[in-house]
Symmetry: C2
């Protein structure tokens, strides 16, 4: 068997025993991993040093080198984040519903692990630690592929995690598998019979490439083209404040605003003030013709409406109505996060109902769309999928459910034909 298929098969086999590992044991394993990271900090740092040296020799950008660095502080941060994961509510084995189908015949719907998760991430070694622990905590096996630049660091981290978990319980053996090359991960994407979910942690480009090269479900978002719409009935100070935050607070991330829509009735008053604030922060503005009649900005072309700048650039368009704003967003948005600023609750309701995005917001900055801020604890990623999990995804995105039917020798034949028994279908507790 080829090594990739073999690793996937080992993970799959491990996944069959993991649902029987109780919460206490899973938490013990996480605790041991956190301790092992701290105990082996010197070895980890020295492996990381090799990666850093190789990266410098290869003339890799300062930004990437910064992300690649995994020092004692970062190890400590990883360990602390594992400790907070231990505090999270268990997502496995939750009774979601219980129905009596007939006397003595009871159907339970119970949450269960997905099985095997394939994760690919770029550069940052702390992502390897975080995602492995999220998978183990939710009863899943995981196949990891890190950035080639972080090869030495990833190897020692995967080894430490696997060792520590297996020491606590042998069912964790083979539950964490590391792939070393990009080719191996490409190969892995073919084995849809062994892998249940792929999570790409990295650039939009990475997500797009993976989405188009596998039949395995992919959890993630390939773009974050987020909008804020300033309505005709609005508190203009609030609008300025919310829009400024949505664009300026951290422009490189997926939940930052890329297009501002303004109702024509307030554009004349709102845009000059807003433009001044943005100018102070160094934001380059682009506008449609009507915008350019009010403020002196670059011309926005059709490409701008679907652009994810990820930078201090913003496109602005004037709309005639709430419905024009909704249409624009449903047409150009990446269904990530879109906001309205209005004082009219009916207008807000219409926007929140009809904008087809994973997060919709009223009088708040799009930057809130995030697992930590939403109170989900650790974040698996943000999803713009319409099935399984949408928006910021926590541990609950790593589970599904199974039906468990308990009878006393019940057979279907008794429920058909003459004198057929009737189902009671009674919801219990």
């Amino acid at each position: 068997m080829d090594p990739v298929r073999n690793a996937a098969q080992l993970a799959r086999n491990a996944s069959y025993s993991l649902p029987s590992v109780n919460l206490e044991t899973r938490n013990k394993a996480l605790l041991r991993i956190a301790e092992a990271l701290r105990t082996n900090a010197e070895e980890i740092v020295s492996a990381n040093r090799k990666d850093l040296e190789a990266a410098r020799a290869a003339d890799i950008s300062q930004v990437l080198i910064k992300r690649l660095r995994y020092d004692k502080d970062k190890i400590d941060e990883s360990a602390r984040s594992i400790m907070s994961l231990i505090e999270q509510e268990d997502v496995v084995g939750k009774l979601l519903s219980r129905t009596e189908l007939d006397n003595g015949l009871v159907l339970d719907k119970v949450s269960s692990p997905l099985g095997v998760i394939g994760v690919v991430f770029e550069s940052r070694p702390d992502a390897l630690v975080q995602i492995s622990c999220l998978c183990l905590r939710s009863g899943n096996a995981v196949l990891l592929k890190g950035g080639t630049e972080a090869k030495e660091t990833n190897e020692i981290l995967a080894h430490i995690i696997s060792e520590a978990a297996s020491f606590v319980d042998e069912r964790f053996q083979n539950a964490v598998q590391l792939l070393s090359t990009r080719e191996q991960f490409q190969e892995l994407l073919k084995h849809d019979d062994l892998i249940d979910l792929i999570i790409p942690r990295g650039s939009n480009e990475l997500v797009r490439i993976i989405q188009s090269s596998t039949r395995i479900p992919v959890l993630g978002h390939a773009a974050g083209v987020c909008h804020t719409y300033v309505d005709s009935e609005t508190d203009l100070n609030m609008a300025v404040r919310v829009c400024y935050d949505a664009k300026v607070q951290y422009p490189a991330v997926c939940n930052a605003m890329e297009t501002l829509l303004v109702h024509k009735d307030v554009a004349g008053e709102f845009l000059p003030t807003m433009a001044e604030k943005f100018a102070e922060a160094g934001v380059t503005l682009k506008g449609d013709e009507e915008v350019r009649r009010i403020i002196d900005v670059e011309e926005a072309t059709d490409d701008d409406w679907s652009a994810e700048y990820g930078d201090m650039i913003l496109s602005i368009r004037i709309v005639r109505s709430i419905d024009e704003a909704i249409d624009h967003i449903n047409h150009y948005s990446s269904q990530h996060t879109d906001a309205i600023v209005t004082t009219n609750p009916n207008t807000a309701r219409r926007f929140l109902d009809l904008v087809d995005s994973s997060s919709v917001m009223w009088n708040a900055s799009t930057r809130f769309a995030d697992g930590y801020r939403y109170g989900l604890g650790a974040e698996v990623g943000i999803s713009t999928n319409k099935t399984h999990a949408r928006g910021p995804v926590g541990l609950e995105g790593l589970v599904i459910y199974k039906y468990i039917l308990t009878g006393k020798g019940h057979i279907v034949a008794e429920y058909s034909g003459e004198n057929a028994r009737k189902f009671t279908h009674r919801r219990l507790e």
Copy 2:
């Protein structure tokens, strides 16, 4: 624009307004559809007659012709099933959770329609009615492709449904689209930017072809290789009864048993009695070497363990332990439905926890795995996927959720740096 892309785009546009159609209006539309089916029964039957004549002329099998027939009784049955759909609980707009993130900043997680569903089905015209109504009830637009044999019937049915719904509310206009050729549906599978879910209703082969030709999520199962394991500690009468039902009651369906696993300690007593019962019903048995030492049956080869006979054929294997049974099932099962017959609750628990199938059963026939029997109301299909929806899927498989954040001008900048505000993350009601 090509006609398929055009139809998909119309459905997508319709899907943007459907989330605002309230339950009362959706139910009114369903009621009107049911009435319209009855009012136009003669026209429908006459269209169906044309299909039947063409089918006979083309020498199509009696089984297919039987499925193709859509007479007044069947129309009436469709109308009645629409009326019972009206009684179902609403799956759209359900508040799934409410969290206070901070004073005045509240996050709701609310169920919402998927958007646009593509459905392909074979022969039976009643499937068109049922699935369109399920989609409309759950706030989705739908693109339909029926069997070519049912062309005339499907056209009039789609027309009646679309007309009736649009008469009640114009937002239903374009919400139901009919594609007429197989090539058009193949074309549709490419438009993953417009379609959110594909539901194939038909043969396993149809499901497999579709799964391997689209990046759109597909809800369904390509195979039903179901097992029953008879444990060493068991009520042998119950075992005979449950196994007989699982195989004989309706062998052509996906939840019928295909392989029987028997613990070695009871095989000598159980197999002769069981074989006699199966012989009476005309079941052909195949067994491994050990089975053939006890009863005189054909030899089972390795292919038999993964075969879905869909017929009066059963493969039998003797296992040495509960774990061997679980391993066999996790290796060969299609993750549809697998059952254990045992009197030992600990053994049952181990089986139910560790068998990785959408339905697992204790002392009950695998034939119970079905949306109607599970009390889900109308069934969208049975899914062996591990993401989104698993097992028998009712209306809830046609929805996802969105996050709705309501603030009073809240910005993220206040939650970082010195004097950062803290999130409260308080679960409300």
